[in-house]
């Protein structure tokens, strides 16, 4: 993923987590910062950062950092 640095940066900033706490194995609800409310903040960060509009189904399926990479491919973010 060419945009991986940017993707990680959005994750860290949107969930307001310490970069040390970040891991590519991160899944929804693994850490207090990624709860149902902050999930929407994360989606918002991705929309703004990559200039895309995400479908509701993708917001629902976005259950982990890795799954997010697959979903973003649909929006031509590689």
């Amino acid at each position: 993923m060419k945009n991986k640095e940017k993707y990680i940066d959005i994750f860290v900033k949107s969930l307001a987590i310490d970069k040390k706490k970040f891991s590519e194995k991160l899944k929804y609800n693994d850490i207090p910062e990624w709860d149902s409310i902050n999930h929407m903040t994360l989606m918002s960060g991705l929309e703004e950062g990559f200039n895309i509009t995400m479908e509701s189904d993708d917001i629902i399926d976005f259950s982990s950092f890795k799954k997010g990479i697959q979903i973003l491919k649909k929006y031509k973010i590689n």
Partner: protein
């Protein structure tokens, strides 16, 4: 094993929340006239005797009235059409009559909304949580006044209410629902060590904390010294950034910097009593309609014609804006069941054309 899925597993609800999120983005982070939620006092009976109850439940006010299920069904259908996102079912204490509560939840059709119940936690056990999950409840909000059990019990008028509330939150989390610890913050405790300890506990347990500012209404009508001053509010905003798990209804929930204020949510989160009266919010006891006489759309249109409710306010009108409180929300004898009519309290100049 979870008994309730979180809201973002519900496609219909995700669409609504996304729509709200996009609205805030387009509207400079301000709520405007968006239909966010309905706060329903389905029944006012309660097993506790809280000193500051805003519904006057300890005085036995209308404790036998329930909003009829057929009317509730009708309101819920219209609320869905209008894009309302959430329902907060409250009392009184609705878990005193779980049979009635389940009937109400089914009538609302929870698959269309983010549905939650606000409770004192006294009647919460594993069995009832499981049932509530089956009836579509996603979140339970439990009110706690203090980290000090004796103080909480004194405020609530019943021994062991603190212990029961703490236990209730454990059960809620264990069942996979969203656990919210609701705390009222006023000038008397905003900067206290006690509040800090309660917030520390909530964060450590991975709950969300809903901060409600103390409002001089109900049993506290005209008790203006409970209202947070500007320094208290600044301090609460500082706590928002520090703790990260704090919410207030007027804060923008999607702001990663934890700074933005979308504005006071009068009318956006209208309050319906068991008699069908609709008030601007649970703490602004000004009537803007009645569901037996008006549609929600009519009520909302009328409410938003009132400048104070339509215009952006960074302050909570009922709990921070002393000018509004003294001028419009301090009428002696006013309760949720005897609200002031908006047409009587406001003058022509208070309405938009």
């Amino acid at each position: 094993m979870s008994v309730a899925s979180s809201w973002f597993k519900n496609p219909r609800l995700v669409k609504k929340i996304k729509h709200f999120h996009d609205h805030l983005k387009k509207n400079d982070g301000k709520i405007g006239t968006y239909h966010r939620g309905i706060e329903l006092n389905f029944n006012n009976a309660c097993n506790l005797r809280c000193k500051y109850c805003f519904t006057n439940s300890p005085k036995g006010d209308h404790v036998k009235d329930f909003l009829p299920i057929s009317k509730l069904r009708e309101i819920a259908d219209e609320a869905d059409e209008l894009g309302f996102i959430e329902w907060d079912l409250q009392g009184g204490e609705l878990l005193l009559r779980p049979d009635k509560l389940f009937e109400a939840l089914d009538a609302i059709k929870p698959e269309r909304f983010y549905l939650y119940v606000t409770t004192n936690g006294f009647k919460v056990d594993r069995k009832i949580i499981k049932e509530l999950g089956k009836h579509g409840v996603s979140r339970m909000s439990v009110s706690l006044d203090s980290w000090d059990a004796d103080f909480h019990d004194e405020m609530r008028g019943r021994k062991d209410s603190w212990k029961k509330a703490i236990q209730a939150l454990e059960y809620i989390q264990e069942a996979g629902m969203d656990p919210y610890l609701n705390v009222t913050v006023g000038h008397y405790n905003a900067k206290s060590e006690d509040l800090k300890m309660l917030l520390d506990y909530s964060k450590k347990k991975r709950y969300r904390t809903l901060v409600n500012v103390a409002c001089p209404t109900g049993m506290w009508n005209q008790v203006h010294d409970v209202v947070c001053d500007e320094e208290d509010i600044k301090h609460i905003r500082k706590l928002r950034k520090e703790y990260k798990n704090l919410n207030r209804n007027l804060w923008n929930p999607f702001d990663p910097k934890l700074e933005k204020i979308m504005g006071c949510t009068t009318v956006n989160r209208m309050y319906i009593t068991a008699l069908g009266d609709v008030l601007a919010c649970p703490y602004v006891h000004i009537k803007i309609g009645n569901v037996f006489k008006n549609t929600l759309k009519e009520i909302s249109d009328y409410g938003f014609r009132i400048k104070h409710f339509r215009n952006y306010s960074e302050k909570c009108l009922a709990g921070e804006d002393l000018n509004f409180i003294k001028k419009f929300n301090s009428t002696p004898g006013k309760t949720i069941f005897k609200p002031v009519e908006a047409s009587e309290i406001f003058s022509k100049e208070d309405f938009v054309d």
